[in-house]
Every structure is written in C-alpha cells, then in structure tokens.
Symmetry: C14
Subunit: 88 residues, 14 copies
C-alpha cells in the first residue's frame, strides 16, 4: 500500500470515531440541563421566561463544544492542512 492509502484509511476511521466519541458527553450534558429546566418549570411556572433564557444560553455553550469537534472532523475529512506535506 502506498502512503496516500494509509492516510485516507486512518483519517476516515479517526474522523468517524472522533465524532462519535465527541458527541457523547455533550448529549449527556444537554440531557441533564433540559431535564433540570423541565423540573424548574414544573416547580416555578411563572419563571419560565428566565429559565428558558438560561437554558438556551447553556445549550448554546454545550453545543459550541460539540461544534469544535465537528469542525476538526470536517477539516480532517475535507481540507487537511497536513495533506500538502504528503502530496509533495
């Protein structure tokens, strides 16, 4: 096998596993935040507005971590900066 083949194989498998692992805990964190928000609404329905605002800020922050992983994975799949050393 030539170098390019190894590179594509490892990049593909690495990207698949990274996105799978990287989505695990953000999902868990979101589930926790949402379930607590539901609990808070059930306890204090009149505070729904500020609860939703806090929840959305929080989900956006957690989502940002997942997006970092996704961006790195997409960079690896579509436009890997290290590829130029390999192609030369």
């Amino acid at each position: 096998m030539n170098d390019m083949s190894w590179f594509t194989i490892f990049s593909t498998v690495g990207a698949a596993l990274a996105v799978a692992i990287g989505m695990m805990f953000p999902a868990l964190a979101m589930g926790r935040a949402i379930s607590q928000a539901l609990d808070a609404i059930a306890r204090q329905p009149e505070a729904e507005k500020s609860i939703m605002r806090t929840l959305f800020v929080g989900l956006a922050m957690i989502e940002s971590l997942a997006i970092y992983v996704l961006v790195i994975v997409l960079i690896i799949l579509f436009r890997n900066p290290l590829l130029e050393y390999l192609v030369k």
Copy 2:
C-alpha cells in the same frame, strides 16, 4: 490485498461502530429528559404546554448531535472526500 480493499473494509467497520457508539449517549440523554418531563407533567399538569415546548426544543438539540454523527457516517459510506486521492 490492494489498497481499495483495505479502505472499504475499514470504512465499513468504522462506520458501523461509529453509528453504534454515537447513538448511545444521545439515547440516554433523551431518556432522561423524557422521564423528567413525565415527572413534571404528573406534578404540574396545567403547565403541560410549556413543558412540552421545552421538551421538544431539548429533544431537537440532542437529536442534532446524533444527526451530526449520522451525517459523518453517511459521508464516509457514500461520498468520502478523501476517496479522490485514493482513486488517483
């Protein structure tokens, strides 16, 4: 074995495992959010509307993480951008 064979084998196995691992924790997070929503409805039936709204937003956010994994897996199976280097 030639390069193409290794690539297809690793891509297939990697995709299967990635989708299996990547669905694990979103499922757990959903289960948590739903069970909390059920608890909230049982405690505060008249707040059902805002509970359902919050739940749906939350499930959509968690589902989005699972979709990211699914998209990467489908890209790997159907239209891997790294394949062009390999085919050449």
Copy 3:
C-alpha cells in the same frame, strides 16, 4: 484469502457487534422513560392521557436513534455503497 473474503467477514462481524452495541442504551433510555411514566400514572391517574402522549413521542424519538443504527447495519449487510469499488 482474497479481498472479498476479508470484506465479508469484517462486514458480518462489524454489523453484528454494531447492532448489539447500538441497541444497548436506547433500551436503557426506554426503560427509564417507561418506569417514570408508570410512576407518574400512579401518582396522577387523571393525567394519564397527556402522560401517554408524552411517553409515545419520547419512545418514538429514542426508537429513531435505534433505527438509525439498524439502517446503517442493513445497508452494510445488503447494499454497501463501497462494494462497487471492491468489485471492480
């Protein structure tokens, strides 16, 4: 062994493990949601209708994650798009 043999072996084993792993946590999440629904019904029998509706929406969402895994596994077993590169 020729390439095709390795491919069939790894695909088969990968599919079997992926479906086994991928069903684990959705099952757990369902168990959690159902047990919470049972608890909610016992506490608030008159809210059964809205509890059941929420439960069914939730189970459908969790089931969808399990279906994603099943679909990927069936694609791998019956109609793998990467196979055309291998057959050529």
Copy 4:
C-alpha cells in the same frame, strides 16, 4: 485454512457474542420497568389497568430492540446476503 472456514468461524463467534451483548441492556430495562410497575400497583392498586397497559406497551417497545438484534443474528447465521460474494 480456506476462506469459507474463516467466514464460518467468525460468523459463529460474532453471532454468539452479539446475541449475548444485545440482550443485556434490554433485560435491565425490562427489570426496571417491571419493578416500577410493581411499585405503582402497590401504591395505587385501583390504577392497575392503565398501569398494565402502559407496561405492556413499554415491554413491547424494549422487546422490539432485542428482536432487532436477534433478527440480525439469525440473518448472519442462516442467510447472510454477503455470502454470495464469497461463494462465487
């Protein structure tokens, strides 16, 4: 060893492990749902009918996940679609 031998060995072991792993968490989820149903009946005996209905729907949903695993394992053991590439 020829190709067919490896294939039968890996398929057999993979199937055995997959069915063993795939039944683990559905069993746990069922145990949770049933124990909660028993608790609900003890607390609210007059709601037994709706509890049993919810429980049966839930057990059927969880059982469906276990059946998916069983079906894939039986396909692998009895009628593997990838076998035709191998026999040729």
Copy 5:
C-alpha cells in the same frame, strides 16, 4: 491444525462465554423485579394477587431474552447452519 478443529474450538469457547455473559443481566433484572415485588407485598399485602400476576408476566418477558441467548448457543453447539459450507 485443519479447519474443522479451529471451528470446533472457537464454537465451544464462544458458546460457553456467550451463555455466561448472556445470563448476567437477565439475572440482575429478575433480582430487581423480585425484590420490588417483595417490597410491594410487604407494603400492600392485599394486592398480592395482581402483584404476582405482574411479576410472572415480567419474569417471563425477561426469561424470554435469556432463552434467545440459550437458543442461539444451542444452535451453535448442536446444529450450526454454517457448518454445511465448512463440511463441503
């Protein structure tokens, strides 16, 4: 070693481990359901009949999962459908 030897060895070990692993969590789930039933009887002795009925349905459902594993293991040990490819 010839092919048949490898096949018998891996089938035997695989079957032994699969039945050991596959019985683990159903046992745990049963233990949970039974202990909850005992708790329910202690709390509500007059509901014993409906508790026992629910418990038996539940144990049967969990037992079915364990039976699936046992059936696959017995198929592998006594009448493996993949054996015909190997014997030929």
Copy 6:
C-alpha cells in the same frame, strides 16, 4: 501440538471461566432478593408466608439462569456434540 490438545485446553479453560462468570450476577440477584425479603419480613412479619412463596419462586427463576450456564459447561466438558467432527 495436535488438534485434540488445543481442543481440550481451550474447552477446559473456557468452561472454568464461563462457570465463574456465569455465577456472578445470579449470586448478586439472589443476594438482592433475599435481603429485600428479610427487610419485608421485618416490616410486615404477618405476611411471611406470601413473602416466602414469592421469594422461592424468584430464587428458582434466578437459579434456572445459573443452571443454564452449568448445563452448557457440563455439555462442553462431558459430551461436546462438536467433538464428533473433530474425532473423525
């Protein structure tokens, strides 16, 4: 080493480990059921009869799972059906 030697070694080790692993969780489940029964008797001494009946049914169900493992292990040690292919 000839084939028969490998077979006896792997069968022996596999059987020893399988029986050790397969007894783990049934023991745990029994411990849970018994401790709950003791708790139930302490709380409701007059319901001892129905508690004992439920406990015995439950222990028998859990024991059955452990017996499945023991049977498979004894089959492997004393009368392995796959042995005839090997002896030939």
Copy 7:
C-alpha cells in the same frame, strides 16, 4: 514443550483464576444478605426466628452457586473428562 505440559499449565492457571473470580460475587451477595438480616433483627428483634430461617435458606442458595464453581474447578484439577482424548 509437549501437549501434556500446556494442558497442565492452562488447567492450573484457569482453575486458580476461576475459583478466585467465582467466589467474588457470592461473597458480596452474602454480605448484603447478612447485613440486611442484622438490620432486620435490630428493627424487629421478636421476628428473629423467621429472619434466621429466611437468611439460612438464602445463604444456602447463594452458597450453591459458589459450590457449582468449586465443583467444576475440582473436576478440572482432579478428574478432567477431556483428559482421555489427550492421553490417547
């Protein structure tokens, strides 16, 4: 090394590990049952007789699982039925 040597080595190590692993969880289960019995006696000293009876039945059941492991280990060490194939 000849076949007999490998067999004795693996049997010895396998037996040692199996008995060590197989005693782990029965011990845990016993500890749980006993501590619960002590708790029950402290709470309801006049029910000591029926508590002790239940405890002894339970310990005997758990001990039986540990004995299964011990029996298999002793069979392997002293009178392995598979040995006759090896000696021939």
Copy 8:
C-alpha cells in the same frame, strides 16, 4: 512509507481523538453548572442577576480549559513547531 507520511497520519488521528476526548468533561461540567443555575433560579427567581453573573464566569472558566485543548490541536494541525526538525 516515508517519515512525513507517518507524521501526518499520527498527527491527524491524534488531533481528532484529542479534541473528542478533551471536550467530554468540560461539556459535563457545563451541564452540571447550567442545571444547578436553573435550579437556583427556580428556587430564588429574584437572585437571577447574580446567578447569571456567577454562571457566566464559571462557563467562561470551563470553556477556557476546552479552548486550551482546541489551541493545542490547531497548533498540531496547522503549525507544528516540531515540524521544522522533520522537514530538514
């Protein structure tokens, strides 16, 4: 394969895994902080302002840890200082 190829492969896989692992626990920590903030708001709605301030400071601190990982990963992908020794 030449040195440069190994370097690009390992850098790519290492970066993908590092970003996936490095985002796991910050996500969990954020989920915890947010869910506690939601709980605090539900309990003490009039203290929302100081709760939000504390929450934002906290999320920024946790985010900083995730950013450290991201920065190291981007350095590795785009401008690795060790590369100059390799290129020479």
Copy 9:
C-alpha cells in the same frame, strides 16, 4: 526453557494473583456485615447477643468462600494433582 520451568512459573504467578483477587470481595462483604452489625448494636444495644450470633454465622459463611480459594491455591502450590502427568 523446559516444560517444568514454565509450569512452576505460571503456577506461582497464578497462585499469587488468585489469592489476591479471591480475598478482595470477601473482605468487602465482611466489612459490610461488620459495619451493619455495629450500626445494629448502636440502635438496639439489648439485642447484642442475637446480633453477634447472626454476625458470626455470616462471617463464617463468607470466610468459607475465602477458604475455598485458599485451599485451591495451596493445592496448586504444594500438591498439584496434574503434576503427575507432567513428571512422567
């Protein structure tokens, strides 16, 4: 290395690990039983006699499991029945 050397090495290491692993959970179980006994005495000092009796029976049962491991280990170290096949 000759056969006898391998045998002594594996027996020694196996015995050391088996006794270390086999004492772990009995110790834990004893700790649990004793701490519960202490709690029971503090709550019900006048039942000390029956508590001590139950505790001693329980510790003896758990100790018996640890003794099984110790006996197997001593058999392996001092008088291994499989040794006669090896010496011949």
Copy 10:
C-alpha cells in the same frame, strides 16, 4: 525512519493526549465548585460577596493544576530540554 521523525511523532501525539486528559478532571472540579456556588447564592443571597471570593480563589487553584499540564505540554512542543541530546 530516522530518530528525529519518531521523536516528533511521539511528542506530537503525547502532547495532544496529555492536554486532552489533563483538562478533564479540572473541568469536572470547576463544574462542581461553580454549581455549589450557585446553590449557595440561591440559598444565602446576602453572602454573595464572600461566596464569590471563595469561588474565585478555588477556581484559581484548580486552574493552576490545568496550567501545570499546559506548561509541560508547551515545553514539549516548543522547547524540549531533552532535544539537545537528540540533535547532537
């Protein structure tokens, strides 16, 4: 491959993993401290000042541990003192 290549590869991968692992638990610890601070503010709003002071001291202490890891990683990537032995 020459020595320098191995060194750059291992340093890069080691640095990436070290920063990812080293940020995990400080993040968790911060999440715990912040969520407790939020809880404290909700319970005792008038003590906000001393709570914030304690929180900031605590976060700084935890951050310092993360910084130690970051410093070692940056030393390894940019100015490894062991490099002089290698370059010679």
Copy 11:
C-alpha cells in the same frame, strides 16, 4: 536467559503485584467498619464497650484475609515448594 532467571523475575513481580492488589479491599473494608464504629459511638456513647468488641472481632477477621495473601506472597518469595522441581 536460563530458566532460573525467568522464575525469579516472574516470582518477584507477581509477589509485588499480589501484595499490592490483595491489600486494597481489606483496607477499604476496614475503613468502612471503623467509620461505622465511630458513627455508632457518636450515636450511642454508652455502648462503647460492645461496639469496640465487635469492631475488634471484625477487624481481626478482615485482617486474616490480608494475612492469607501475605503468607502466600512470603511463601513465594522465601520458600516456594515448586522450586524443587525447577532446581533438579
């Protein structure tokens, strides 16, 4: 390397690990028993005598398990009965 060297190396490492592993859970169990004894004394200071007696019996029982491990380790280090087969 000759046989004796391998034997001393494996014996040494095995003994070191066995004593380290074998002391882990007895320590945990002692910690549990002692902390419960302290709790019991704080709750019921006048029962100190019988608490101490029970505690000492318990610690002696747990210590005995640790001593079993220590004895096996010392046998291995100082007077291994299997050594005579090796020296011959």
Copy 12:
C-alpha cells in the same frame, strides 16, 4: 535508532502522561473541598474566617501532592540523575 533517541522519546511521553494523570485527582479533591467550603459559608456565614483558614490549609496539602508529581516530571525533563549512566 540509538539509545539516546529512545530515552528522549520515552521520557517526553512519560512526562506528558504523568503530569496529565497526576493532576486529575488533586483537581477533583480541590473541587470537592471548595464546593464544601461554599456550602459551609452559605450555611454559617459568620464562621467564614475559620472556614477559609481550614480550606487554605487543605488546598495547600492537596496542592503539595500535585507539586510532588510536577517536581518528578521536571526532574525527568531537565535533570534526570539516571542520564549520567546513559551518557557514559
């Protein structure tokens, strides 16, 4: 590769991993102590002084453990006493 290269590679990777692992649990312990201090201040604001004093002593003690790890890592990176044997 010569000896010096292996030494620098292993030292670098070992140092990176050691500092990452060694900071994990001190961070967790600090997080626990700080969160408890915050809880204590919220419950007993007038005892802030003695709480802070205890907290600082405690954090210093935990920090000292992390510093031990850091010192060993810096010794390994900058001035390894074993290096003189290697350089000779």
Copy 13:
C-alpha cells in the same frame, strides 16, 4: 541483555507500581475513617476521647496493611531472597 539486567529492570518497575497501587485504597480508607471521625466529633463533642482512641486504633490497622506492601517492596529492592538463585 543478560539475565541480571532483566531482573533489575522488572524489579524496579514492579516495585514502583506495587507501592503506588498498594497505597491507593489504604489512603481512601483512612480518608473515610477520618472524615467520619470529624463528623462524629461535630455531633458529639464530649465523646472526643473515645472517638480519637477508636480512630487511632483504626488508622493503625489500615496503616499496617500499607506497611505490608512497603515491606515487600523494600525486600524486593534491597534484599530479594530469590537473588541468590540468580547470582549463582
């Protein structure tokens, strides 16, 4: 490499790991006992004397387990009885 080198390397690494592993759980157990003692003093300040006495006995017992590990490690490092077989 000659035999003596292997022996020193394995002894050194084994001793380092054994002392690190062997100190883990005694530390945990001590932490538990001490924290319970602190709790007991806070609840019952006048029983400080008997609490301290019990605590010191307990810490000495746990310390003894850690000392066993330390003694074995020191024996291995300074005066290994198996060394005489190796030196000959």
Copy 14:
C-alpha cells in the same frame, strides 16, 4: 541498545507513572477529610479546635502514604540498590 539504556528508560517511565498514580487516591482522601472538616466546623463552630487537631493528624497519616510512594520513586531515580548488580 545496551542494558544500561533499557534500565534508565524503564526506571524513568516507571517512576513518572508511579508518582502520578500514587498521588491520586491520597489526594482524594484528603479532599474528603477536608470537606468533612469544613462541614463539621459549619455545624459546630465551637469545636473547631478539636476538629482541626483531628484533621491534622488525619492529613499527616494520609500524607505519610504519599510520602512512601515518593521515597520509593526517589530511591529508584537517585540511588537504586539494584544498580550495583547491573553496573558490575
């Protein structure tokens, strides 16, 4: 590579890992003791003196375990008694 090189490499890596692992649980134990001391002070401020005394004794005992690890690691790095066999 000569013997001395392997020895320095393994000693260095072993020492780094041992100090990192060996500091983990003492840190956890300290965190537990300190957080309990803070809780005790908040509950019983007038008992601060005896709480601090107990805490310091406890921290010293836990620190001693960490020091044992540190001493062994320093012995290995600076003055390994096994080195004289190697140098000869």
